[in-house]
Symmetry: C2
Subunit: 353 residues, 2 copies
DNA sequence: CCCGCGTGTTAAACTAGTTGAACGGGAAGC
DNA sequence: GCTTCCCGTTCAACTAGTTTAACACGCGGG
């Protein structure tokens, strides 16, 4: 029961009254060997029948499906924008991304729990013979072992927001953490803050960016004369945001500014501030990171580092395309660092006297 | 140069020392014809070599790629959640959605402008022989002509948020506009509002929901004794939101409540209210629609109808699966109406005296 | 009359399997 | 000694083309 699959090349050839191979050549663009009239006949026949090239066959023959697998968490607007960048670049190269999502939309996935499900997703991509893969760090770490297979199959892989420090086995595209953290530090120190806290995220192995963002920030503040940063982090499941925020804001002396490593953590600080009757930014300054879609509409509007997710997506896609048929097919893995921009809104001010 | 594609079945057969057809049968699950020891040998060999089924070949042979094309605008959290619902259902059936995006992330696409690009996207899906399609209305209307091809190819199509009134040629999954509009009307009329305005969106042909939402609301308010609704709508490009909002709030007498057909339009009303020094909800009540991710964090928090995008996505995916191998393969197109829930927040109150 | 050129044809091999039919050899049962 | 079963083999056809090689036909020029 192979359902009707549309007209075959054979149908086109018959309608145009030419041989199968002539039809194939003409439709592939090899026109010069044939008369103009014949070409027109074949092209017309194909159009009239609504024939379309079967990319499955093409894929079998050339080993290229013009398809790139993408695995991201469907978590927030950052990832949606990354995806947008990927789509734009791939579409213009006549490639198609196939996206699989790990985890739930409501919360950052816990890859440890979903290992099987995640690997099934990757399998679905490999079974369809994607030409390349763009992955978020979770897979890269949780399935480090499976990377062997990807390398053996020579499927180029780009990992977003995660760099392997020791043995880099795949390309990496990430936010420039050092420069970004320094920009935040400068902003706060310049405002006069000398007692600054940092609220980090879950610092799981596959959240290397969280660790680096915090460490870079701590270092930058100290270098700029802002004193020693007091740092907290969420638990492994990310469930204690409000409690940690309460702990930070209850310190005595209370820090005058808090850097949240993402806008999500900044939200906990906002909620806790309302709870405790503290005014942002009069009593405490808050800086976020990412400029997620809700950051601008928070009250007060959140000062945050705007990442460039679209550029990250674009660069990742371009890297895969270059590896596939560019000159860099064989060059060693690289790391691309994408900048971020400080967006000063209403949540930061000079420290209270 | 057909790049290395991983081990072939031939390699597995050789390693296990069996014939090609035996390997094929065993790996397909036809075990009873073979000895347990032979089966193990083949399975082991496949595992050790990392062999994986080539779905391209499968697709060619069976005419089924276990792949569903999805076309949506990457616009707001509504569509992200629809996508989430689709992914969940398809993943559990071992299908994979391939998503193409039309337009830009920042704004609702204008399909009229991008007709070529949009059709290229659909082509990319059909060229890869997707088994079914889930489309947003834009395509359904702009490319009405191309629907012929989809029907001929017997590719089941589900359209989200758009019902053809005359000749329904595809399945449709949409929000229950009549019930939802009535819920909003009841809420406002019960609060005592008797002079209610409606701010509709662009009412393009492919935004049938906007028209119906407005009309249902007008009718419901009148039936409930809330008087005659005064309605406005955005221009064809959706660029005059603030101007229209200003016009509404400058009316004399000013309506005491405004129903915005989506949360996006509610935003214009909020901005304009600040501009004009009006307090929400003391001076004017505002109701949105969709409960997009920013609705809860607006100040005051927006009262809105929460659509069920995930359910819409799930139902759409399920419908496609049922059409593919269920009993309803041949039944006529249906329309599924999904409910919505009124979320009362802080933007509605009794009308000012 | 033969050569070469422009067109186009046929046949075969190839992508990676899947599937049906026929068949073969050893062992057990009768 | 014959039949039957079990286990497995080989062969061929099939999915939808792509590509190479060899070849054929008619026309114009020499």
């Amino acid at each position: 029961m192979p359902g009707f699959q549309g007209p075959r090349l054979k149908d086109v050839a018959e309608k145009a009254n030419v041989s199968l191979s002539a039809a194939s050549r003409i439709l592939r663009g090899e026109r010069q060997r044939f008369g103009a009239e014949t070409c027109d006949r074949v092209l017309d026949a194909a159009r009239q029948l609504g024939w379309r090239r079967n990319l499955l066959v093409n894929g079998m023959q050339t080993g290229r499906t013009r398809t790139i697998g993408v695995m991201i968490p469907p978590f927030d607007s950052f990832w949606v924008d990354v995806l947008a960048g990927i789509h734009i670049v791939l579409a213009s190269a006549d490639y198609l991304p196939i996206t699989v999502w790990v985890g739930d939309c409501q919360e950052m996935p816990h890859f440890e729990k979903d290992e099987d499900e995640g690997f099934k997703q990757i399998s679905r991509l490999l079974d369809r013979r994607v030409d390349g893969l763009i992955l978020w760090p979770s897979f890269a770490v949780a399935y480090y072992d499976h990377f062997r297979e990807l390398l053996e199959r020579k499927v180029p892989v780009a990992v977003i927001d995660h760099e392997y420090s020791e043995d880099q086995i795949a390309d990496s595209i990430e936010t420039d953490e050092a420069a970004s953290a320094r920009a935040v530090a400068e902003h706060l120190v310049n405002l006069g803050h000398r007692d600054i806290a940092c609220l980090s995220s879950r610092e799981a192995a596959w959240q290397a960016w969280a660790v680096r963002r915090r460490e870079c920030f701590e270092q930058a503040v100290e270098e700029l004369g802002g004193g020693k940063v007091r740092s907290w982090r969420l638990n492994a499941w990310g469930t204690d945001g409000l409690e940690i925020a309460r702990e930070i804001l209850s310190q005595n002396p209370r820090p005058t500014a808090v850097f949240a490593v993402t806008d999500h953590e900044a939200r906990y600080l906002y909620e806790t501030a309302i709870e405790m009757g503290l005014e942002i930014p009069q009593d405490i300054s808050v800086v976020g990171f990412a400029d997620l879609d809700f950051a601008a509409t928070m009250r007060p509007a959140l000062t945050t580092m705007r990442q460039r997710p679209r550029e990250i997506g674009r660069r990742a896609a371009q890297l895969i395309l270059d590896r596939l048929d560019g000159d860099m097919a064989e060059s060693p893995p690289t790391t691309i660092r994408v900048g971020a921009d400080l967006i000063v809104r209403k949540s930061t001010a000079r420290p209270p006297k």
